[in-house]
């Protein structure tokens, strides 16, 4: 130890320094702000109606932990093999990376993880002990399957009724196999039904499934979908075929052969599915849509793929009349235009242009202009529980079990993923009633983001319940630590193959691609132990326990400068006022 005073330069050190250790100087006492590790919600998770824990899934995937990543998806969504194929992936729309280069290919990754699980024949974890409650779920589409899964996870026995022979609903009988192969759906539905759930095929609500029978259960969830086609309301309507029924026949392999020019009327996903199916069967479909191209309600990817396959889409033509001609059906179409003073409307009203009608001769006309709820629902008043769930109070049946309505019956979007969210909400609401809790409050406890997204993990007190329910925006990231890297494109069939087979159009990305794509994820709001905080801390006050536990702050020395918080690339830290 050096002397504390010097009499001569010869006694002095070369430079000014403390005589001994400064470890006694607890600089933490200077602090008036304090950093804290605080995970938050990512915008992808908040945009996903099923609240998949996407940042964590991508982190696991980037490390090659595919099985664990798959399990974490199924914690929130039991149908990743389905959604990895047919979901409209709002997650990617919410992805902060979209403001940087391109959104992470979350949908491709989801499919990779599910297909990988299928290849490895992974199974779901064990269900909790039975509660003794029996729940009737009517409709085995995505909403019903989802409800069955989550009710099972809560220990409740499920009787799953459906009008069809196989589970899946529209997934099985509406969506063509080039988008969703039957065996993939069967595997995924099988994982749900292998628990304490029984599938009752061929049971149609209001026909061979009576209300009395349903009333014997402890709760009922109705998700029978919207299978009734809207009428065209034009002369000769009887000559047109129901598009959805035709798709169902194709999936059932009982459709009759078709060739020549055919007309598809409509602009939604069913219309596009129908046209692409007809193309594969050897016909020459044209889609006629009464509004403008930009008004098409079908998903942009679907429209793009149909166009790639050479299917013409003729906008601003409204069906006027169908006549039986000598060489087929004559479809008469009225040219339309945006109505006067309607151009500022989001989806402008249209009106005839006054030009002469157009006539096409076709072998068949198919309609897909929207669908109405399937029949058989009991009369009564409905009460919204969440954006994807209603509670039905049947008229004059105050004594019966609680009844919830979900799936396409209640949500405007009518997408697969909102149906799954609806099933999850129903399971949570039913379990809440069983436990004597208020369903809406229970759902609120698991909310992610500001919409109807509910995390099962969060409301069950899992690791996500520790996260701050704040959705991290791009402006809250420090993107200087990210590198530009192009988004992975999914491989697919050639156009020639697409036009002639029902093989899946898209293929799975490889494991190596999946890992590098998952690495693109910013992991908004989630500490991935990148150690920027450790590297930047000027006080060496970020402690890294050797056992791989989370980083900690050494508050003996942390002066609260906040550099760690600012340099955190993903906003997984927060700087707060020091409690007094």
């Amino acid at each position: 130890m050096s002397p504390l005073t010097f009499k001569s330069v010869r006694e002095m050190p070369m430079l000014s320094r403390s005589a001994d250790t400064m470890a006694w100087n607890h600089t933490g006492s200077w602090r008036f702000l304090r950093p804290r590790y605080q995970d938050k919600d990512a915008p992808c998770s908040a945009a996903c109606p099923t609240a998949e824990d996407i940042p964590l899934v991508e982190l696991l995937a980037s490390q090659g932990c595919f099985a664990e990543a798959w399990q974490r998806i199924r914690e929130e969504n039991p149908l990743p093999a389905v959604c990895g194929r047919v979901c409209f992936h709002p997650c990617e729309g919410g992805c902060n990376r979209g403001e940087y280069d391109d959104p992470v290919a979350i949908n491709s990754l989801e499919r990779h993880l599910a297909d990988q699980a299928r290849r490895q024949q992974l199974t779901a974890g064990a269900a909790p002990p039975p509660s003794g409650k029996r729940v009737a779920v009517v409709g085995a589409g995505p909403a019903g399957l989802s409800a069955a899964w989550f009710l099972g996870r809560l220990g409740h026995r499920v009787e799953l009724y459906d009008a069809h022979e196989e589970p899946g609903g529209l997934l099985r009988y509406g969506i063509p196999s080039y988008r969703l192969p039957a065996e993939v759906l069967a595997w995924e539905a099988g994982l749900i039904l292998e628990g304490d759930a029984t599938f009752h095929p061929g049971r149609t609500l209001g026909k061979n499934l009576s209300w009395d029978e349903l009333s014997s259960h402890d709760a009922v969830f109705l998700a029978v979908g919207a299978w009734r086609s809207n009428p065209l309301g034009i002369e000769g309507e009887d000559l047109a075929a129901d598009g959805l029924a035709f798709l169902e026949a194709v999936r059932d392999e009982r459709a009759s052969a078709i060739s020549g020019k055919v007309a598809v009327i409509g602009g939604g996903n069913t219309a596009v599915d129908l046209a692409r199916t007809l193309l594969r069967l050897g016909a020459e479909p044209t889609i006629y849509y009464r509004r403008r191209l930009e008004d098409l309600p079908a998903l942009p990817d679907e429209i793009k793929e149909a166009t790639e396959e050479g299917i013409p889409i003729r906008p601003l033509l409204a069906p006027h009349r169908i006549e039986q001609g000598e060489d087929g059906l004559r479809l008469v179409l009225t040219p339309m235009q945006v109505a006067k003073d309607a151009s500022l409307q989001a989806r402008p009203t249209i009106a005839p242009t006054g030009a002469p009608d157009e006539e096409v001769t076709v072998t068949a006309v198919f309609t897909a202009i929207g669908f109405q709820n399937s029949p058989g629902l009991p009369a009564g008043s409905a009460q919204a529980v969440s954006p994807y769930l209603q509670r039905l109070l049947p008229a004059g049946a105050a004594e019966g079990p609680p009844v919830f309505v979900g799936g396409d019956l209640v949500n405007e979007e009518r997408t697969v993923v909102t149906a799954i969210a609806s099933g999850k909400a129903a399971a949570v609401a039913i379990a809440a009633l069983f436990a004597g809790e208020e369903p809406a409050a229970k759902l609120e406890a698991g909310r992610v983001g500001t919409g109807g997204t509910v995390s099962f993990n969060r409301l069950s007190g899992g690791d996500r319940s520790a996260r701050e329910p704040h959705v991290v925006g791009f402006d809250e990231l420090n993107p200087i630590y990210f590198r530009y890297q192009g988004r992975t494109r999914r491989p697919g069939l050639t156009l020639k193959e697409r036009r002639t087979t029902f093989d899946e159009v898209h293929m799975r990305i490889s494991g190596a691609l999946a890992m590098s794509e998952a690495e693109r994820c910013f992991r908004c709001g989630m500490c991935d132990q990148c150690d920027n905080c450790y590297l930047f801390c000027p006080d060496m006050s970020v402690l890294r326990p050797a056992d791989g536990e989370s980083r900690r702050i050494d508050f003996d020395y942390c002066k609260g400068c906040g550099v760690c918080v600012v340099e955190c690339p993903r906003n997984a830290m927060v700087l707060e006022e020091e409690p007094r």
Partner: protein, 386 residues
């Protein structure tokens, strides 16, 4: 091994041979090639170093100060306005006694903008406590980096290796690149006596009261003097290993055995031109001895007196100017000669500012003017368009 190297890349080679562990880099013309090549060397793995891209020269210097404080051999490079922006940190590096080496490419200061050779940028850092060595050719640039680390680590002071923009930085010359093994022998790993140690946390560079501040300054001056004393032995060791020697003041006589009537003092790359001019003028019967000054800090006053004291006339060419006074090397030389009873007549020329060529004709004109004129009251401009 003999290679044809650009001056900037010779620096990068030398930094690599010195096994530098941290390089901080902020680009500026005409320095950028140095750090670009170092980035390549680090990226391809041939130089095991951390390469830090920073947002300014001030940070570039701060970063190597941090690295050297932790006991790691560190390097950065700059020029002109970049060096000026480092100014505050230059003082700190010397005061903290960190043996950093900085490659400084002499470039003129603005306004007006000018990217060509001029020494005013480095000479303006005179009082920062950095050693400064001026180089004549690319070989000397490469060797000086290695010598600078050795000297800097011996006396615990930072050193600048200074050389002219473009004339050296962007010129390819055949260079003898030393073998790594020999460099390792000449320049063993740095063993700092003091460094930041997380296991034994101490405070460094804290307040020194009036009671002690002067003693710390005294020690820096002592270290500068020690550098002058130790340099000849270090240079001799370098010569024994590599066959090349770089005295701080070197005389190149016009003819052996006799003293010419005039000594011409040059620094930097113009010395090479002066060598050629000397031979040509000698054929015309005009003799001058060439004196190459390599060190600016520490300034070799005694050596200057010994070498120049006996000449009748001394002409100094400064590619720099201290406004209101004159050429900066001339001032230093005048000051060094002041204690002598009989002093040579001094002819302080300013030439070649902002990259203007100092040609053989310029040298001939300077020698002729010094031969005829009486010593001036103030500075002499050579090549000025009046």
């Amino acid at each position: 091994m003999r290679q044809v190297l650009e001056g900037s890349h010779a620096v990068s080679e030398a930094v690599s041979l010195a096994r530098v562990k941290v390089v901080s880099a902020y680009p500026i013309t005409p320095q950028t090639h140095i750090v670009e090549r170092l980035a390549d060397l680090v990226a391809e793995g041939s130089l095991d170093a951390r390469y830090l891209r920073v947002e300014s020269e001030h940070s570039a210097m701060a970063a190597v100060i941090g690295a050297a404080s932790a006991g790691v051999r560190s390097f950065t490079a700059s020029s002109s306005h970049g060096l000026a922006l480092m100014h505050e940190m230059l003082h700190w590096a010397a005061g903290a006694r960190l043996p950093l080496v900085l490659a400084e490419v002499n470039r003129a200061m603005g306004a007006p903008w000018n990217i060509w050779a001029d020494q005013t940028d480095s000479l303006a850092q005179r009082d920062t406590g950095w050693m400064q060595f001026y180089c004549e050719d690319v070989q000397e640039v490469l060797d000086s980096i290695i010598l600078a680390y050795r000297l800097a680590e011996t006396v615990s002071l930072p050193a600048m290796v200074v050389f002219d923009a473009f004339f050296l930085s962007h010129t390819y010359e055949p260079v003898d690149v030393p073998e790594q093994e020999a460099v390792d022998r000449f320049l063993p790993p740095w063993q700092p006596s003091e460094f930041l140690d997380p296991e034994n946390p101490r405070a460094y560079g804290q307040m020194a009261s009036p009671e002690y501040y002067m003693e710390f300054r005294y020690q820096i001056q002592q270290a500068m003097e020690e550098a002058l004393r130790l340099y000849p032995a270090i240079d001799a060791e370098f010569q024994s290993l590599f066959g090349r020697s770089y005295p701080l003041v070197e005389t190149i006589p016009a003819a052996t055995g006799e003293r010419a009537p005039i000594a011409l003092v040059t620094t930097g790359s113009m010395t090479g031109t002066a060598r050629v001019a000397q031979a040509e003028l000698l054929e015309q019967g005009i003799a001058f001895d060439l004196v190459k000054v390599r060190a600016f800090r520490p300034f070799p006053q005694q050596e200057i007196r010994r070498v120049l004291g006996d000449y009748a006339k001394v002409a100094v060419i400064d590619r720099n100017i201290s406004f209101g006074s004159g050429g900066i090397f001339a001032q230093e030389i005048r000051s060094a000669l002041a204690p002598l009873d009989r002093r040579p007549a001094l002819y302080p020329f300013v030439a070649g500012l902002g990259g203007r060529d100092v040609t053989q004709a310029s040298i001939a004109a300077i020698v002729a003017r010094a031969g005829q004129d009486a010593p001036p009251e103030d500075l002499l401009w050579e090549g000025l368009k009046i």
